[in-house]
């Protein structure tokens, strides 16, 4: 189809055509970036945690006043929890991956005299069954041995005295952290340093264990320490059981713990999955808002195209009638309006791509976002061409139905 007559017609409607192009461009730019943002959010929401997510439940207790016999209390609690039918493993923990409740982090150094830490890693600790309870997969080395564990209060006292012998000596790291600290080498037997050159030897590597929060510091930079926690340290109990048993186990665990010592309050009782959902609630909400904005934008733009196309069809009824009378088929008229829309959309999309790139650059400098992948450009273009064609179809069909006899009537 010859596009010259279309272009010359558009020349006479410069302002209207420019507005339509601008609208398509803005929509294209915003939609490209919004879809990209949604992708980023969903990627976050689906991050692997490394733990047996559907088999864990968590109970956190708050003690009323000081706990004089915290270690004995913890031992009693753990023994009682293990006896609950369906429970496979139990451990106290400070923090769970991708869960609300804060985290403990430290700077890792590769040499004793290093000034700036290489990475900020997070610190998991709990008790002798931490690795098995969380369902972590060891890919190299071993789990801690019984004689490597130190109680938290003993370790803190040793730290304050400056007695390095009283501290744990070994550590388990994630594969991602090992790869970051010693690229291409085996991490087993290597030493990392903390604080004022306190050495820790790597004895094991787990496949994956995400950090609780501060994901921007490296979502998989986690370490596990042979430190035992007690009831007074603010730890949670985490129980592992078969997925269908979770509700029952959680209820039984809370009841048993209250029975053992009624002088405490249940602060948290939930499955791991519930905690994870709460952690990502904001990301989900933001993704929802973005979907809403995209839908609204597309609808408004489509309605705008329908409105303008209808106006043009109305304005050109006479011309269309003349063309029809001179032998143009309905298909010719239909294609005329479709081509016109295609041309306008193409101009809009070209401008929109530039805008999308600009917005992405702005977002990159303000919100730590990666570059917009190139695939978004053709996809966005296709989407807007499709939207334009769908929107113009109605008015174009109406134009095609204008009878030739209109040419002979005076309006």
């Amino acid at each position: 189809m010859d596009i010259r007559p279309i272009l010359s017609t558009l020349q006479r409607h410069k302002v209207t055509a420019a507005l339509l192009i601008l609208e398509v461009a803005l929509t294209c730019a915003i939609v490209c970036n919004a879809v990209f943002l949604i992708g980023q959010r969903l990627q976050r929401v689906n991050l692997p945690s490394g733990v047996a997510e559907h088999e864990l439940v968590q109970v956190q207790l708050g003690h009323i006043g000081p706990v004089p016999d915290a270690k004995a209390q913890t031992a009693t609690d753990l023994a009682a929890l293990r006896e609950i039918p369906g429970v496979r493993h139990v451990t106290p923990v400070f923090q769970l991956p991708l869960n609300p409740g804060g985290s403990s982090n430290f700077g890792v150094m590769l040499a004793p005299d290093q000034q700036q830490p290489t990475v900020i890693a997070t610190q998991y600790m709990g008790g002798s069954e931490l690795v098995t309870t969380l369902g972590l997969r060891l890919v190299a080395g071993r789990d801690f041995q019984a004689d490597e564990y130190v109680d938290l209060d003993t370790a803190l006292a040793a730290l304050h005295r400056g007695d390095l012998k009283g501290l744990p000596q070994t550590v388990i790291v994630t594969r991602a952290l090992a790869e970051r600290l010693w690229p291409g080498e085996t991490a087993l037997g290597k030493t990392m340093y903390l604080g004022k050159a306190i050495p820790f030897r790597v004895v094991g590597v787990v496949a994956s264990l995400a950090r609780p929060d501060q994901l921007e510091k490296g979502e998989q930079y986690s370490t596990i320490w042979p430190i035992r926690l007690s009831a007074a340290d603010g730890a949670s109990y985490v129980l592992r059981c078969a997925a269908p048993d979770r509700a029952g186990v959680l209820k039984a665990a809370v009841a048993r713990l209250k029975q053992l010592n009624p002088n405490r309050v249940v602060l948290v009782q939930r499955t791991y999955d519930e905690g994870r959902r709460a952690f990502f609630a904001n990301d989900r909400a933001m993704a929802g808002i973005l979907v809403g904005v995209i839908a609204a934008l597309l609808v408004v733009t489509a309605l705008g195209i329908v409105g303008l196309a209808s106006f043009w069809v109305g304005q050109r009824r006479r011309t269309i009638g003349v063309r029809r009378a001179l032998g143009a088929t309905r298909g010719d008229i239909l294609r005329y309006f479709q081509t016109e829309n295609f041309l306008l959309a193409t101009f809009g999309i070209a401008l929109g791509m530039l805008l999308a790139y600009g917005i992405n650059l702005f977002l990159m400098s303000h919100y730590e976002l990666p570059r917009l992948p190139a695939i978004y450009f053709p996809t966005g273009a296709l989407a807007l061409w499709l939207l334009g064609q769908l929107a113009v179809l109605g008015p174009a069909l109406r134009a095609a139905n204008v009878p030739p006899v209109v040419a002979t009537r005076s309006v």
Binding site: T16, L26, I64, P66, A296, G307
Partner: protein
């Protein structure tokens, strides 16, 4: 005259209900979305203590060892250690000063049907209440002597007073906190500064601390610290760090009534750092900051990035809606070239036509604005359903209400300007002839 234009506008709009509906809808959606997000942004970036916040300063010093120090670049620590906090407090160089930290205490009342529960708490020194202008419903705060004496006294919030004492004047009553008996000396009235500027290590918004006790007494009883603990060297946490540990976990706030006093206080912080370095406690050269409330909030990027992003997105959407409306309005006005040509031929001036068309776009804007206002109210209701901690604060205030209406009217008149101007360019003779 304007009444007549209004009548004309109304008739014209009614003649094309679908097109008019589209324009109103576009404006309403754009205004609704942008006002919703703008209101949230406005609420979240507000001044927590209007009238007081410019005299409140947050001193920062840097007690860390020399490891990793880049002079001029490294920011000092965001909290203070126990030793530094106590030193600065006792120096009394500010008009008022308070050392504080957050925590959580178990509340268990004797002879009460109420199950024991945990309440967020603030452990602070006496100046907290007068310095932040805390209003009291019953009683009052405590004085410096109570801090000195490690007195077991407590101030509670109104919601907690309602929950435990049924809303009655509870001053003089006993409340059992973390297993110890405390005497209630005051009940706070309606006071909930947002953002929670004095401790940004907990929830930044809608943090509802129910219990305030003297810092000294909280340490005697062994109340749990909650918030952030940042250690260096071989410092190690535990929940409540040892008072000698190289860890910061307390907030120190000062009131300095004039800029001159603030400058003097800053000088004092430098002197203090130098003195501590001479004593061997500090290793770094003086690295101090003295930010007031708004500077402190700004430094901490308190307003969530998502909220800024949403506001930007909504204004982008409004722009698309406006372009859309301009296009439709232009189409509508141009379609009436004939009518306008007749009016011009009959003697109407361009100005009159322009005014008439602007009136028409103004009417569209007003209806769209009212629609946008309703949508913004619905949008804010939706925001309050969101999981974010600030969600409950999202309410429209009179200032934002006015902004909404002005924005709607301004936007649509702006959107009407170009089409009206274009439509006024008609040449009467040409329009008459072509028909």
């Amino acid at each position: 005259m304007y009444g007549y234009y209004l009548d004309l506008a109304w008739r014209s709009l009614r003649r094309t209900p679908i097109l008019t509906g589209l324009m109103v809808l576009a404006i309403a959606l754009g205004i609704g979305a942008s006002m919703t997000t703008l209101t949230v942004l406005h609420v979240l970036s507000g001044d927590p203590l209007p009238g007081r916040s410019d005299t409140l300063y947050y001193p920062q010093i840097d007690p860390r060892d020399s490891q990793g120090f880049v002079p001029g670049k490294t920011e000092p620590m965001e909290q203070v250690t126990w030793i530094d906090g106590m030193n600065l407090l006792q120096a009394k160089r500010a008009d008022r000063q308070a050392l504080m930290t957050g925590g959580s205490v178990a509340i268990q009342q004797d002879n009460s049907t109420l199950d024991p529960f945990f309440e967020d708490a603030r452990y602070t020194t006496a100046d907290f209440f007068p310095m932040f202008g805390v209003p009291f419903r019953f009683g009052h705060g405590w004085d410096a002597a109570a801090d000195e004496a490690h007195a077991r006294v407590a101030v509670i919030s109104s919601p907690l007073n309602d929950k435990v004492f049924g809303g009655a004047d509870s001053t003089g009553q006993t409340v059992r906190l973390a297993g110890a008996a405390f005497r209630v000396v005051g009940v706070i009235g309606d006071w909930n500064p947002n953002p929670h500027f004095y401790d940004l290590n907990r929830k930044n918004y809608a943090e509802d601390e129910g219990v305030y006790v003297p810092l000294s007494a909280s340490q005697d009883v062994g109340m749990d610290h909650e918030g952030s603990t940042d250690c260096w060297g071989n410092g190690g946490g535990g929940r409540t760090p040892d008072h000698n540990a190289p860890c910061v976990w307390l907030q120190f706030w000062t009131q300095l009534d004039s800029p001159a006093k603030a400058a003097a206080y800053r000088q004092f912080l430098v002197h203090y750092s130098e003195q501590q370095k001479a004593l061997g406690r500090f290793q770094r050269s003086p690295n101090v900051r003295l930010r007031n409330v708004m500077q402190w909030l700004d430094y901490n990027h308190v307003v969530p990035d998502d909220v800024r992003l949403q506001t930007g997105l909504a204004f982008g959407f409004l722009l698309v809606c406006l372009v859309n409306t301009v296009g439709l309005m232009l189409a509508k006005f141009m379609r009436r070239s004939a009518e306008l040509g007749v009016r011009r031929a009959l003697g109407a001036s361009r100005r009159a036509l322009f005014a008439q068309l602007l009136m028409e776009s103004g009417v569209v804007g007003l209806i769209g604005g009212v629609g946008g206002l309703l949508l913004a109210l619905a949008g804010l209701w939706l925001v309050r359903m969101q999981p974010a901690s600030y969600a409950s604060l999202a309410h429209l205030d009179p200032a934002m209400l006015l902004t909404t209406l002005l924005l709607a009217l301004g936007a649509s008149v702006l959107a009407g300007l170009l089409p009206a101007w274009r439509a006024c360019q008609v040449t009467p003779a040409l329009q008459l002839k072509s028909n």
